[in-house]
């Protein structure tokens, strides 16, 4: 509870900091809108050209796209400390100051940055979710709404978990290596389309190593009434938890890696 309070307080301070430069903030937020709008345009063009992808209709594809962008940009917004700032904190030695405070390192890293500019990306995703839901005629029930919320929440932790791979690598190498980007940004770009659109090796990658399929595609296909691989309903409720598992494993790896942290010169 105390940690959540600290997180909220930190966010307050960080947002206040960003609003010190209102024009810059506004322009960057607009830039984000254009960027994510462009991504969505790609989906619109695809749908316009092909009408459907395997069994998925246009509405379904908007729904998948919306789910990915809401989840991904929520992670980038509230987990900015992990997704963006961590490598530079290691490189500049700013991480030292976190080590001097009586709180968990991961907690403090989470509290160290927020990126409210992503709000426009999240908005684009939300619009896409709504359009998709209308076009696919989803019959909403409390259970389905809950499943959507679960998928987003677990996806949030999955994505942070994947970004932690890079954090762990950069503790060892001091310099950012960006090798994990294949899973994070690559995963976002690929998995905004349902998993059965991909060949087997990629399916394995995004089911076992970076389980976007388990966290997003299986519950989403259930919500859309077209369960992937005809899986039973309970699977859709259980499979997203794999995202939290990934985060748990990486958080453990992170704390182990911190023992090797060697700081930088004075």
């Amino acid at each position: 509870m105390d940690t959540i309070r600290l997180y909220i307080r930190s966010m307050g301070i960080l947002i206040k900091s960003q609003l010190q430069y209102p024009l810059s903030f506004l322009l960057q937020t607009l830039a984000q809108l254009i960027m994510e709008g462009g991504e969505m345009l790609a989906v619109i063009l695809l749908v316009d050209r092909f009408d459907h992808l395997n069994q998925w209709s246009a509405g379904d594809l908007y729904f998948f796209f919306g789910l990915m962008s809401v989840t991904f940009y929520l992670s980038e917004c509230f987990g900015r400390g992990i997704t963006g700032n961590f490598p530079s904190m290691v490189r500049t030695g700013q991480l030292d100051t976190l080590l001097l405070r009586p709180r968990g390192i991961l907690t403090q890293v989470m509290c160290s940055a927020v990126d409210p500019r992503r709000i426009t990306c999240i908005a684009v995703g939300t619009v896409s979710l709504i359009i998709g839901s209308r076009m696919a005629h989803i019959r909403w029930s409390p259970a389905r709404a809950l499943l959507l919320a679960e998928s987003i929440a677990c996806g949030f932790w999955l994505i942070l978990g994947l970004f932690l791979i890079e954090a762990v690598l950069c503790i060892h190498s001091v310099k950012s290596v960006e090798i994990a980007n294949a899973l994070t940004y690559g995963g976002r770009s690929a998995c905004q389309y349902p998993i059965d659109a991909f060949p087997r090796p990629l399916r394995c990658l995004f089911t076992v190593i970076a389980p976007f399929a388990l966290v997003m595609h299986i519950p989403a296909s259930h919500i859309l009434g077209k369960p992937l691989f005809s899986l039973p309903a309970w699977v859709a409720y259980v499979s997203p938890l794999s995202g939290i598992l990934v985060f748990g494993i990486m958080a453990f790896a992170f704390s182990r890696a911190m023992r090797f942290y060697r700081s930088v010169g004075s």
Partner: protein
């Protein structure tokens, strides 16, 4: 039973692996091991104000980082108030305050008061105690009028005072300072010194100060440790250390008639600047009265000053002698 000191450091060693840049024609860069600390031991009592000096790269910052729990040593043992810093980091850091002269811990774009209230949450301080301590510190540091100013708008000296306040809010029993006066002007430096003395005296806070500024050292620390190439070379009073290396005097002298040239032994270095003569001699060569009589033979002296070497020169001499 042997009485334990507040800070006990036994046989501390730490080395780093540094990879050198890859040379042409080689597959990978050579690895080089730098031994930052080699078997360093010392102890500090509660309430002591100790200076820690040594040339760049001597291992001072490494020591501070180990004592504050950021780094784990390769070998050796540290006990601070009975506990090992890197074993239980969270418990340990509640009791210490650390200020790095070149690293800021407060938030850059918000008023410093906001930073302090976030620190209150981080350290889980109770409100009454926090308010009292904040009041006391802002008074002592002269920060009252700056509390609502964002950190980025403060001058370097003001920023350092703000940082100090931030690192002392949780009433640490030990304060580690790593080059706190770096880049400060004379006024800020003096204010900082006064404050450190005050904190040390009123709260009995143990302070370990790393600096290159010998004036700080002389003004604050009765005890000095000298570190060089990862080893402790001296531990004792600053005045004794200086006395040991204080062997030369420089003399400035002006005669009534400007072209007077005293005849002096060749060991005395001498040069002329306008009508002033500058001499440097070693005190072990002859007594001051001998020198005076030699100087007076040349003519009537109008003005004369005798000065010891500045502390910086002494320290540079000392480092040279110790082979650093």
């Amino acid at each position: 039973m042997e009485e334990k000191s507040f800070i006990e450091v036994h046989h501390l060693s730490k080395s780093f692996q540094v990879r050198k840049k890859r040379e042409k024609g080689h597959w990978r860069g050579e690895k080089k091991t730098i031994r930052a600390l080699k078997d360093v031991s010392f102890s500090i009592d509660q309430g002591e104000l100790v200076g820690y000096i040594g040339p760049n790269g001597a291992g001072k910052s490494t020591t501070v980082k180990i004592l504050s729990g950021i780094l784990t040593p390769d070998a050796g043992d540290v006990r601070i108030d009975g506990q090992t810093p890197w074993k239980d980091r969270k418990e340990h850091v509640k009791r210490i305050g650390v200020v790095f002269g070149q690293r800021m811990q407060l938030w850059w774009d918000v008023p410093i008061l906001d930073s302090y209230s976030l620190l209150r949450d981080i350290y889980r301080l109770n409100d009454a105690d926090y308010t009292k301590r904040l009041h006391e510190l802002t008074e002592a540091l002269g920060l009252g009028s700056l509390l609502r100013t964002p950190l980025r708008q403060l001058s370097l000296g003001q920023r350092m005072r703000a940082e100090l306040c931030g690192s002392l809010l949780h009433r640490p029993r030990i304060l580690f300072l790593d080059e706190p006066t770096i880049g400060l002007d004379a006024v800020s430096k003096l204010a900082l010194r006064d404050f450190l003395k005050w904190e040390n005296e009123t709260h009995h806070t143990t302070i370990l100060l790393t600096t290159h500024d010998m004036e700080d050292m002389a003004a604050l620390c009765s005890r000095v440790m000298v570190l060089g190439r990862g080893q402790k070379l001296y531990d004792g009073s600053l005045s004794a250390l200086l006395r040991e290396h204080d062997r030369t005097r420089s003399v400035e002298i002006r005669y009534d008639t400007p072209d007077c040239m005293p005849s002096l032994p060749p060991s005395v270095r001498m040069h002329r600047e306008g009508d002033t003569l500058h001499l440097t001699y070693a005190t072990c060569d002859f007594s001051t009265s001998d020198l005076l009589s030699m100087l007076q033979k040349a003519g009537a002296i109008r003005e004369m000053t005798v000065q010891p070497q500045s502390i910086d020169y002494l320290i540079a001499d000392m480092y040279r002698e110790m082979g650093l």
